[in-house]
């Protein structure tokens, strides 16, 4: 099977923001004219040596917290962001040297709907199809058909501003599909949708997948990734932490129940005494959060609270979760998704 997407040692650095001069917030720096200061803090690394292989026809999920590098990855794969180094190819074409061909073969649903607001709904589709060389007659027919299928057929002649957020998101999906792309990219497609619209979108995506379309989706909803994706990549700080099927990933989740104690101060001081509580498998501290993996479920909670109080800390809140993608994610990234 050929690869729909392949990246090798993909890296993206953004220049560090120039330190603000004392000119008030109105004086926004103009990147074109402002040279970087000599003593700049190093560049911001958004992607660090990312290797991905997505076979044709796969529903692939990119999972990570905000700022993990998901959107940058999509940006590079859709030719909208230039990688600092490394290689990437999409649908058989190199994103850097053959970007026109890549664009011809992909459809993109952006994180925030960006329809052409000067045009009507159907015009959005007709013109987008025309930018891809589709004849007007075919485009209009397909456009109406897509709107109908997506449940906004009656809005064809409406102005874009008359659509709700969810309807605009569906228009974005129609736009991404009108030129029959081989690979579909969706960047957090269900953010801001109500639960019903989200489920409906899932159905649409499942159908597209069943058609053999390669789909790459970023999300920070664990359930969404679990439900839809054949394989998931967990990324954070621009690095690939794990990549496998949801089932295999779940199997890698650390054993035991994850107990999080939110303290009123730094949790580091409590780690040592928590480790000797019988039933604890692993203990981590992150700022005011003490994470304990326990093989005796909640039984360890009272001694943990006592241990914390003995160090002068008060427990403000307690969360329990059973082994899942969520606990794997937390153990890999040290933070929660939202």
């Amino acid at each position: 099977m050929t690869a729909a997407i392949q990246t090798r040692a993909l890296r993206k650095e953004y220049p560090a923001p120039a330190p603000r001069r004392g000119r008030g917030p109105g004086a926004s720096p103009m990147p074109a004219s402002q040279p970087r200061p000599a003593a700049a803090r190093g560049p911001i690394v958004a992607l660090d040596s990312l290797d991905l292989d997505v076979p044709q026809g796969e529903f692939f999920g990119l999972l990570g917290p905000n700022g993990a590098g998901k959107t940058t990855t999509i940006g590079i794969l859709t030719t909208r962001v230039r990688a600092t180094s490394g290689k990437a190819s999409v649908a058989g074409a190199d994103v850097a040297s053959d970007d026109v061909r890549v664009r011809q073969r992909i459809g993109v649903v952006p994180q925030r709907p960006n329809p052409d607001r000067s045009l009507t709904v159907i015009e959005n589709l007709e013109f987008h199809a025309a930018y891809f060389g589709m004849a007007l007659g075919t485009a209009a027919m397909r456009g109406h058909e897509l709107l109908e299928r997506l449940g906004i057929g009656d809005k064809a002649n409406a102005k874009v501003d008359e659509l709700s957020g969810g309807q605009q998101q569906r228009l974005m999906i129609a736009r991404a599909l009108i030129h029959e792309p081989r690979v579909l990219f969706l960047d957090e497609p269900t953010v801001g949708l109500d639960p019903q619209a989200r489920l409906a979108l899932w159905e649409i995506l499942r159908d597209l997948h069943a058609q053999g379309r390669t789909i790459v989706m970023t999300t920070h909803y664990m359930e969404e990734a679990d439900q839809l994706c054949d394989r998931l990549a967990i990324v954070d700080h621009g690095r690939l932490l794990a990549c496998d099927t949801p089932d295999n990933l779940r199997a890698q989740a650390p054993g035991g129940t994850l107990i999080e104690l939110i303290l009123d101060g730094d949790a580091e001081t409590v780690v040592e005494s928590a480790q000797i509580v019988p039933g604890t498998l692993r203990v981590e501290a992150r700022n005011a959060v003490l994470r304990v993996y326990s093989d005796r479920r909640g039984e360890v909670i009272p001694p943990l609270i006592r241990a914390a109080e003995a160090k002068g800390r008060t427990v403000l809140n307690i969360n329990l979760s059973t082994p899942s993608l969520e606990t794997l994610f937390v153990s890999l990234t040290g933070r929660k998704l939202d």
């Binding site: 926004s28 061909r101 664009r103 960006n114 930018y131 891809f132 599909l177 159908d207």
Partner: protein, 279 residues
């Protein structure tokens, strides 16, 4: 929301071996132009008021009231009308490109659907310049009869050199449309007002629009300093074509300067555009 049957959204076979649709750059350019002109047509009333208000008011005051009062000589209108045409086309070409561009790159990102088109990204910038130039030419052509109507008979006005007139108008509109691309891509959204006060207003005042370049003989420093201003060549070029009896630059000098300026600004605008468009 309707749930879609599997066969509906896509044709059945999807594979890497499927053949790419032939996309001709010319056809995409045509579609992009069609889009911009459709939007322009829809917004024509606002656009015309925005770009023609100032020139028309100038025509009323300097081409009608002052001559009536006897403060300026009657012949002044033959120097003024070409200048006003130049100002109108310059304003509308700059605004047609710069204003949407500032919005697009500032917050709406609406241009994204065009940046995903399977054509070289620079083509999108070039198309913006062409669409802006078309709007500039139209504004210039509207002001000519309006000016004539308000000012009354204009000594020496001729349309014998219509082809040369249209050519200079088109070159001038291309130059200012390219300037619009530079400004629209290089300027932060919150500084758009400043752009008009600091760049556009002086350009209009020192662009030999309201007086012929030869008139600056009396102030030699000024006479040569204003040559950096593209508007000078548009105004003088139009004078050479529609009021050739009055003082004006040689048309070839004006046209040559405009070709160089249009090329230079297009190149610069294209560079900034690419930097803004691809992260």
């Amino acid at each position: 929301m309707t749930v879609t049957p599997a066969s509906a959204l896509m044709p059945a076979s999807v594979s890497d071996e499927s053949v790419d649709r032939e996309v001709s750059t010319g056809a995409v350019l045509g579609a992009l132009l069609r889009r911009d002109l459709r939007v322009a047509r829809r917004e024509a009333p606002y656009f015309l008021v925005r770009t023609l208000m100032q020139p028309v008011l100038f025509i009323v005051v300097f081409g009608f009231l002052l001559p009536k009062m006897g403060f300026v000589r009657v012949g002044y209108t033959s120097a003024l009308l070409p200048g006003i045409i130049a100002v109108s086309l310059a304003l509308s070409a700059i605004q047609a490109v710069a204003l949407p561009m500032v919005q697009d790159f500032g917050w709406t990102r609406e241009i994204e659907d065009r940046l995903l088109a399977p054509v070289p990204t620079a083509l999108i910038a070039t198309e913006k310049v062409l669409a802006g130039a078309i709007q500039g030419v139209i504004s210039g052509l509207i002001v000519l009869p309006v000016g004539r109507l308000i000012m009354g008979p204009i000594p020496g006005l001729t349309l014998e050199n219509a082809v040369a007139f249209i050519s200079i108008t088109a070159l001038g509109a291309l130059t200012f449309s390219a300037i619009g691309l530079v400004l629209g891509t290089a300027i932060a959204p919150q500084q758009i007002g400043l752009m008009f006060s600091i760049i556009v207003a002086p350009m209009l005042m020192f662009g030999c629009a309201y007086y012929p370049w030869r008139g600056l003989d009396a102030i030699p420093v000024m006479k040569y300093a204003v040559l950096v201003n593209p508007l000078v060549y548009v105004a003088e070029g139009i004078r050479a074509t529609i009021t050739p009896d009055g003082p004006h630059m040689p048309i070839l000098a004006a046209a040559g300067a405009l070709v160089v300026l249009a090329g230079g600004f297009w190149y610069a605008g294209r560079r900034v555009f690419l930097r803004k468009a691809v992260g």
